[in-house]
Structure formats: C-alpha cells, structure tokens
C-alpha cells in the first residue's frame, strides 16, 4: 500500500522497536519450530496450551489487511499444515486458529501473526468459543447491518480481485436503492471511484458544488454535509483543507465578476450541460460493475470538464 513519507517513518519506527522483527533477525532468542524464507514459527511464551505456536511473517505487517494477496495465499496454505502439525505432534483432535488485528482485539505486539493452538476437550479454553448472545433481537437493525456488510464485502472483494463476486448482481440494486446511504458509505463511494477521488483531492471546492447539482450525485448527497465528507476524504489522504483551490477560485470568480456576471452564469450553465450529457448514461454510482471502465472513462472526461471550469 502507498504510504506517505510520514507514515513510512511511523512504520519504520514500529519495525525498529518490534520484538518479533528482533526475533527474526536473531537478536532476541526464541524457541523456533520452523523457518523458511517468508515465515517463522515459534512457541508462544505465554501459551494457552502445550504446543501453542505463532506463525509469524518475516515481513513486518501491522495487521492482516496490510499483507499483499500473494503472501496471504502462501500463509493460508501453510496454516493448514501447521494446524495439522499441531494435532499430529501434540496428539490432539483439533486446533484453534486465532488472529488479532489491533490492540482492541488483544494484539499486544504490532507485528501481524497467527496463533495456532492445539486443542483438547478438557483444556477449558471456553473464551475461544462463541458466546450465545442474541444478536438479532432488533430485527430491523439486524437486517440493515446485513445489507451494509453485504455491500461492503462485495466492494472489498471486487477491489482486491478486480472481479465482481458471483451471484447477487440483480439483488444488489434493491438494497442500494431503497436504503439511505450513510456518510461513511459516501466516502467509500468516493474512495472506490478514482475519477471522483481525484476530483475531491485536487478540486475539493469544485466537488462540493458539483455534488449538490449533478443529476446523479445530487440524489446521493442530498441532505448530507458535503463539506464534511470532502474534509474526511482529504484527511484520510493526509491532506488538510485545501485553501489554495478555494482562493484560486475566488480570484477567478472576482475576475469573472468584472468580466460580467451574466457571462459567467451562462458559461457555468453550459458547462453543467456538458457534464449532464457525459454522465447521462451511468446509473450506478454506488456499485461499479461490468462496463465499469467505460463508465469511468466517461466520468473522467466529464470530470475533466468540471475541473477545467474550476481550475
């Protein structure tokens, strides 16, 4: 993933202080079970059961989602065999695989790793088995949560694999049409549409105006605090509010005022007509699917027009 220099520095600092990087480098001793180019397997110093192992990627990833897909694949195949090893060597009937992403999940060291714990019937590790809390008491909330997750899972898989996951394309339009989108989801929409994202990053002020006037976008952004959404996106990408764009625009506006108010309004109208035309065909703002490229291209062209207008 792309890190800003500052983030890269944070990662380096994390690595330099990471006990597992030191174990991998041989600076801290550990009971090593197995080692290959990419992974190291050691015994956990605070084992849940006898034979509790940690499968540690040699590369420092803070949490699993940092790990590239091809490295994940290798890890997953290996994990099956490590679970087999746990059962075979410790003579048990089962094992538990445990991943903690983040301190809140019980991750004590910020180096992604997987716990493999040999299990026995009487080991008393009840905390690793699901509680039986009723999570669906509020049927409506439960359904809504399911809809949100369903869409996000599709988005994540599509983004990671470049392919739309199977099934459900027809079903998909229903929940997206009927339910109100949250600000976070709008941010997600911007994030997954590169042309939109570029526009927000480069021309935040322009985007704020476009979002409320554009025929397709305006439905999505209706009643939302576009400014806040834009700020959040900028913040996510490590930019604070872009004053410059605004200033330039003001200047331009002042200049154009001098040139004649009427003239400017006409121009704006004409430009928006262009945008409408160009964007007229694409109805799927939320879920880019087949023909995504075409649509994106179209959007890109039209957004260029917008960019020119405010540039």
């Amino acid at each position: 993933m792309q890190l800003s220099p500052e983030q890269q520095k944070m990662l380096e600092e994390q690595k330099a202080n990471c006990p597992f990087c030191k174990i991998i480098a041989g600076e801290i001793p550990a009971r090593k079970v197995y080692e290959n180019e990419q992974f190291l397997i050691v015994l956990d110093i605070n084992p849940a059961t006898k034979g509790h192992m940690l499968v540690v990627p040699k590369e420092h990833y803070p949490i699993l989602p940092f790990m590239p897909m091809d490295a994940q694949k290798k890890l997953f195949v290996m994990l099956r065999d490590v679970m087999g090893l746990a059962q075979h060597a410790m003579v048990t009937r089962g094992s538990t695989l445990f991943i903690a992403n983040g301190q809140a999940a019980g991750q004590n060291v910020n180096h992604f790793m997987v716990h493999v714990i040999p299990r026995d019937k009487n080991d008393g590790l009840y905390e690793l088995h699901p509680k039986q809390e009723d999570l669906a008491s509020d049927a409506e909330e439960f359904k809504k949560l399911g809809g949100t997750l369903k869409n996000t899972i599709r988005t994540v898989i599509q983004r990671a694999t470049g392919k739309a996951p199977p099934g459900g394309q027809p079903q998909l339009t229903q929940p997206t049409q009927s339910r109100e989108v949250s600000e976070d989801e709008l941010i997600n929409v911007i994030e997954i549409n590169k042309p939109l994202l570029d526009l927000v990053l480069q021309q935040p002020e322009a985007f704020k105006k476009v979002a409320l006037q554009h025929p397709q976008l305006k439905d999505l952004f209706k009643g939302k605090d576009v400014g806040k959404i834009v700020d959040k996106v900028l913040e996510k990408h490590g930019k604070t509010k872009q004053k410059e764009g605004g200033k330039k625009e003001e200047k331009q506006e002042k200049k154009q005022k001098k040139d004649g108010k009427e003239n400017k309004e006409k121009e704006v109208e004409a430009e928006f007509e262009d945008v409408k035309d160009a964007l007229g065909g694409d109805k799927e703002e939320k879920e880019p699917k087949e023909g995504e490229e075409k649509e994106e291209q179209k959007k890109e062209e039209s957004l260029d027009d917008i960019a020119k207008l405010f540039g």
Partner: protein, 196 residues
C-alpha cells in the same frame, strides 16, 4: 444428528452476507457481538487439514476479505478471526462444521477472548519444542508436494515453467489489486500509530 451449520446454510431466512460456490458468510444471530460474521464452507467439512490448497486459500481469503469489510463498514478498533477446527469438543458434539468467526472489536466491548497463559517451565517448553520440531518436516514435505511450481525442482522443467509463469502472473495481478486497495483504504493506517 443433523448439523446446525448445514441447516443454517440451507435455511432461506438466514441473512447471508456473502455466498459463492463453496463458501457462505452469515451475519451471526447468536455469538459474541453485533456485526460478527461466520464464514462457513458450504460442504460439511469438519477438518481443515483435509482441505486442498485451493479450498484452504479460498476459505481463509474470503474470511480475510470479510474482516476487511467489517473494518470498513463498522469501523471497529480491531477484529478477531477465530477458527475452532476438528473434534475439540468431542465426537458427540456436532458443532464442528468448519467455520471462521470474524468478530469486530472495540476497547470497551467487555469481551474477553484471551486465554489464561499456561505456566510451563523451560524444560517442559523444550520438550514441546522437540515434539513439534520432530514433525515439522511435514511442512517442507507438503510444501514440496503441493507447491512444486514454486520450488525449482528438477525434472518436469517445461511444464513447470509454464505453470510457474502462470502462477507468477497471478501473483502480480493480485499484488496490483492489493496496491490499488492500499491507495483507497486507510482504516489500516490507524494501526501504524501504534508502536509495540
């Protein structure tokens, strides 16, 4: 006895958040915490060690995607991925259909999933280490058998090269996809702020 998980998967009322040919992900109606997703193999598998490479990667990869989606959709401060596999609770317990629990976590969620560490002296630990090391060659062996393409084994050179090239291409694509992903998602960046 019928399997609860199989019943759940077949039940049309079940809230499925993802489904393909081999995997079903269900929003848990019973479990630790709201937003928990249970990822099942569609087939009634009970032992993870019996999955082939493809089945295994697909099962865990999908679970990983679900974990990413849980991060993005629900904005938790962390996630757990937990798989209890095999006959841990004994043969008579029919609750052993292969399942990965994806659990959204917050600092103040009052869940405790952490085990009490077992106290073991150094001698005992060394004994365990020997036992595991003794069988760890299985990791090499299996790797050799199943990932022949990746290892530069002599013999079927031509066929391997093709396969290897194919494999490589796949790897590159998915890596690109990952980088693309990296540009756009950044709940992950929060995890950079932590220093161990």
């Amino acid at each position: 006895m019928t399997c609860k998980a199989c019943e759940l998967i077949e039940n049309k009322e079940t809230l499925k958040v993802y489904e393909d040919d081999t995997i079903v992900a269900v929003l848990a109606s019973k479990g630790w915490v709201k937003g928990q997703v249970d990822v099942f193999t569609k087939k009634h598998e009970t032992e993870i060690t019996k999955l082939d490479d493809e089945g295994m990667t697909h099962f865990l990869q999908t679970s990983a995607h679900v974990a990413s989606a849980v991060f993005e959709a629900l904005g938790p401060q962390g996630t757990n991925v937990i798989i209890n596999e095999g006959n841990i609770l004994g043969e008579e317990n029919n609750d052993n259909h292969l399942c990965a629990h994806i659990v959204p976590r917050k600092f103040e969620d009052n869940l405790n999933l952490m085990w009490k560490p077992k106290t073991m002296d150094d001698e005992e630990k060394d004994k365990v280490l020997e036992k595991l090391k003794d069988k760890a060659f299985a990791l090499d062996q299996k790797k050799g058998k199943k990932e022949e393409k990746g290892e530069n084994r002599e013999g079927k050179e031509v066929a391997q090269q093709d396969e290897y090239g194919h494999e490589k291409k796949e790897g590159k694509d998915s890596h690109e996809a990952h980088e693309q992903k990296g540009e756009k998602v950044d709940y992950r960046l929060k995890h950079l702020m932590r220093i161990p």
